[in-house]
């Protein structure tokens, strides 16, 4: 589950960066269409994995909810 959390945290952060860079620059439609759901999935996956981890501290669970960097914050709190 921890390896999965690392992947989800990375995807969560990278897709958000990609979406914001795209928003500020070229507005290429496919990036928004695919990046949005991908980011949403990673965001939810981070929260689900942290909630499913046995004995995860409350601090980690709350930090997982933070958009964009929640996975990274939760990893540090575990």
């Amino acid at each position: 589950m921890m390896a999965g959390l690392r992947v989800a945290a990375l995807v969560e952060a990278l897709t958000l960066v990609a979406l914001l860079v795209n928003l500020a620059t070229v507005h290429w439609r496919p990036v928004t269409t695919l990046g949005g759901p991908l980011h949403g999935t990673a965001y939810l996956a981070v929260i689900a994995v942290v909630l499913l981890l046995p004995g995860a501290p409350r601090a980690a669970k709350l930090r997982a909810l933070v958009p964009g960097v929640g996975g990274w914050l939760a990893l540090r709190a575990l």
């Binding site: 999965g4 269409t33 759901p37 949403g40 939810l44 996956a45 689900a48 499913l52 046995p54």
Partner: protein
């Protein structure tokens, strides 16, 4: 682009949600027999694929938004049913499985609640209803039931 979103949505439903439904249904039987290895594997499949399965509603909502059908009754009912199934899995099925797995490892035996089999049955039934709604789309001009 809508085709890609829909393809991911359908593929995710088959590859991620399918295994969760099967593993959750088989879990009570093997837990009753006390097969620790099988029970561990089934619990792991249920947990890991449940997380991966989160992609299905997310890509589904994105597809619905692209098609402009998010307000359609068949889709609203499907989303509500999906939420019920997700809550059943996250709040009832997975915690019950975890308790059984812990019991099997620590004491070599665990009481499998009779309600677990029923709950996984309801979970599978919800997916059957959602799939029918997705195909027939009552009230829509794009369903195959029209």
């Amino acid at each position: 682009m809508t085709a890609v979103l829909l393809a991911v949505h359908v593929l995710g439903g088959i590859v991620f949600v399918g295994p969760v439904t099967v593993a959750a249904s088989l879990f009570p039987r093997y837990a009753g027999e006390g097969s620790v290895g099988v029970v561990d594997a089934l619990h792991r499949i249920s947990r890991v694929y449940a997380v991966l399965g989160l992609a299905v509603p997310v890509f589904g909502i994105a597809t619905g938004a692209q098609l402009g059908v998010l307000g359609d009754a068949w889709l609203l009912v499907s989303m509500a049913l999906t939420l019920v199934a997700a809550l059943l899995l996250g709040l009832v099925i997975l915690p019950a499985q975890a308790r059984v797995v812990t019991g099997l490892h620590e004491r070599g035996a665990a009481a499998v609640p009779a309600s677990l089999g029923m709950t996984t049955g309801v979970f599978a039934l919800i997916w059957a209803v959602v799939v029918v709604l997705m195909i027939v789309r009552p009230g829509s001009t794009t369903g195959v039931g029209a």
